[in-house]
Symmetry: C2
């Protein structure tokens, strides 16, 4: 009967000390979001597959966790399909729900569904796990927490700027060295126009997005396989390998994209955002990265990604503007922009760089040793008095050996232990042992209260 | 392209005001758990089906949400099964993971997996959503939050008592009128012994568990269908319909179960717990309920359930002792006991009884009106100063009509609005409008800081 228990690969348990650390990150992020006026929402773990599919590209669709329909899930499959079943056809008959893949699409769905109750521009944050059937590796989990902050219902570039301020504040507070990369989908489209391959725009963004992982030669191969001409690929490479300061990149692209309407538009946006950031003294943190593409289909304007310096773990925060996402759900012309902090990768970076403050488990402050039934009764009343005063207090549940009970206190880092025997009960006092100094002192329960 | 968006039935979105209310419940529960020395853990949403199945009875297994295997999920199905597929056979080949059904089984799995890092008795709390493919109805959702508190690795009945103290504290703080029902699986087993039907013990608990919902006649029918003799059913009915005080019930059962070893054992436990509760003045809140059975398979001792008075919504908290749960995962002799607070039903009760304190969204305190590019630049610096002082501050992202911006402040209940035009910039002051009184005052940004 005894199985060796395990959890699905790519998932993790969080023990008390890990909870304290993760909450440190989440509380920091949350406090900054609130400082900028964002309000919390939560959405269900499961969404209808019709909400999720087609929003994350082909690759994303493949990585969705799908929920098997309840009951006799076979009875919607047409007989003809049963004879020679193919997974990609059958799936639509046996699954209608999936686990959310990110928080942006559920947010867009939420906005459309609740549009009559929302005051626009709507600034919301959302901190929940998401699930992706990705191959697990360092910094990549199948269940991980995203901390999203979005504003929807405003085209103003000030929103992009505010999100970059938020990013800057969060990572300053967490003391993580970082670079904030920015690009713009319109600039990328301008580049596609410039190389004469606008019809291949999605293929280009998907391939360029992999540049960091697979290198320029593989990207070129992939583009070639997609049908891009050698000439177009060469022109694109010239852009991708361009090195220079942000200002040099702007001059380079301004000239190159001067005849592409969308491209010029994108450059105007980039420059406007940089102007603000210059004024706010955040400009030096920024890197205009011409190779930044981001794989998700829904981005239409600015795209942002944050990289931790000196730790190879991929991006720790990313996002961008999406003009049409609510349109898919029936509410057009509501542009949004947002970024998502990856709590789990931030956790890994902070562990590697030893950035967590001294860990303080919000644990027990006083443990009463249990010497037997008579003492227990007496102690239960004293324990109640301490708890009523808001002092986290335990009584050991049984009269185990003293050594075991003291070990319990040590392992749980409980600073004070109370010993009550016959004498203490007679005198109506407690013997309080300071577990750090080892010193024992007799005092009343009221005196102990004042000590805490 | 436009679909009407919706979410899966039995699930809900939480808007900002609902988040504030739910957090009020969760923070209350958490603070009591900590007062008693419990530490937080979290486990993954997905568990291996081998961990979940067989722990919740047949009905429970049916209500598990199962995750479809990734990739070509058909290729593990033997050819013979494909020809004439049956859902209950096929499911094992296409699904290996499920969403957690409760927090107790994942906790037992966690304890076994991490046993070498745990100090026993281990007191943990866990607040996470669980999922059940139940028919949605009032107070019953397919995704809902459980707030679990368990102690594992101690047989002491003091743990049962402590959990009842916790229940009492939580519902006092939330001001919910309640009855705490208690019974004991050993007493139920004694009753099965008394009526000569110990082999049908599981059938009896499952049927008795439904008494509230389907009534005594249906329960009797069900027991009869399970093969219980008429005589046994009649003797059982005599017990189920017994009315009296807790003391009267104890006398009644003591006599009845005097020749059943397990039953006597159960009665001793009940009486010991009542002795403690008497001493702690919680006894009057308790109801010894001979019909309380609880549907879950893993309970072996005390079972507990809390009902809100005057609100028909089912139990708002429940649990019990489980002696063998970690044994299933390979770690025998580690008894545990715990209860689970249903955050969503508690939410519904508090809404119905109007028990939430005045809602305070932790929202924006100051909104800067946006009059155009020049003013915006000036304001951004002032906004930064307020935020640096920890004051939640927004600037409207574009120079919309004043009325629209003031409406935004009103809808978001922002108490102060700042207006900065040419004059203010010249004088380096802010015009601050108190949105409650309507009064406008000129002051410097430092003066505004001190006001907040």
């Amino acid at each position: 009967m005894a199985q060796k228990p395990s959890i699905p690969k790519g998932t993790r348990d969080f023990s008390p000390i890990e909870m304290v650390r993760r909450n440190y990150i989440i509380d920091t992020v949350k406090s900054v979001f609130q400082l900028y006026g964002y309000l919390p929402i939560e959405t269900p773990a499961m969404e209808n597959l019709s909400t999720l599919t087609g929003k994350y590209g082909e690759e994303g669709d493949r990585l969705l966790f799908k929920i098997l329909n309840s009951g006799n899930f076979l009875n919607k499959i047409p007989n003809a399909k049963i004879q020679n079943p193919k997974a990609n056809e059958i799936v639509n008959y046996i699954s209608e729900k999936g686990l959310r893949f990110d928080l942006t699409v559920p947010f867009a769905r939420y906005v459309v569904q609740h549009r009559n109750d929302i005051t626009f521009p709507f600034k919301r944050y959302q901190i929940q796990p998401v699930w992706r059937a990705d191959r697990p590796q360092k910094g990549r989990y199948r269940e991980f927490f995203q901390c999203d902050v979005d504003v929807i219902g405003s085209h103003s570039l000030l929103n992009e700027v505010e999100l970059i301020q938020i990013i800057n504040d969060v990572f300053n507070k967490l003391q993580i060295n970082n670079v904030i990369k920015i690009n713009n989908r319109k600039v990328l489209y301008g580049i596609a126009e410039y190389i004469g391959e606008t019809e291949k725009f999605t293929d280009i963004t998907v391939a360029v997005d992999k540049l960091d992982k697979i290198g320029i030669e593989k990207v070129k191969e992939e583009l070639s396989a997609c049908g891009l001409s050698k000439k177009a690929i060469d022109r694109l490479q010239q852009i991708l390998i361009f090195k220079g300061t942000n200002e040099e990149k702007i001059i380079f692209l301004d000239k190159m994209l001067e005849n592409t309407e969308t491209g010029k538009n994108g450059m105007d946006e980039i420059k406007a955002v940089f102007d603000y950031l210059n004024m706010l003294s955040i400009f030096t943190k920024m890197e205009f990265d011409l190779t930044l593409a981001r794989g998700l289909d829904y981005y239409t304007g600015a795209i942002i990604e944050v990289i931790a310096k000196d730790v190879r773990i991929g991006s720790i925060c990313g996002g961008g503007r999406y003009d049409d996402l609510t349109g898919i759900f029936g509410l057009p012309d509501v542009s949004g922009v947002g970024v998502s902090f990856g709590a789990d990768r931030i956790y890994d970076v902070m562990m590697e760089k030893n950035l967590f403050p001294e860990e303080t488990l919000s644990t027990t402050q006083v443990l009463f040793i249990n010497f037997g039934k008579e003492e227990e009764k007496y102690c239960l009343h004293q324990v109640g008095k301490l708890r009523a005063a808001g002092i986290n207090t335990e009584i050991f549940p049984e009269a185990a050996k003293l050594k075991k009970q003291l070990n319990y206190a040590n392992n749980k880092k409980i600073p004070f232990v109370v010993l009550v025997g016959e004498n203490e009960m007679k005198e109506n006092v407690l013997t309080v042992k300071d577990m750090n100094s080892g010193q024992q002192t007799k005092m009343t329960v009221n005196e102990l209260k004042f000590r805490m």
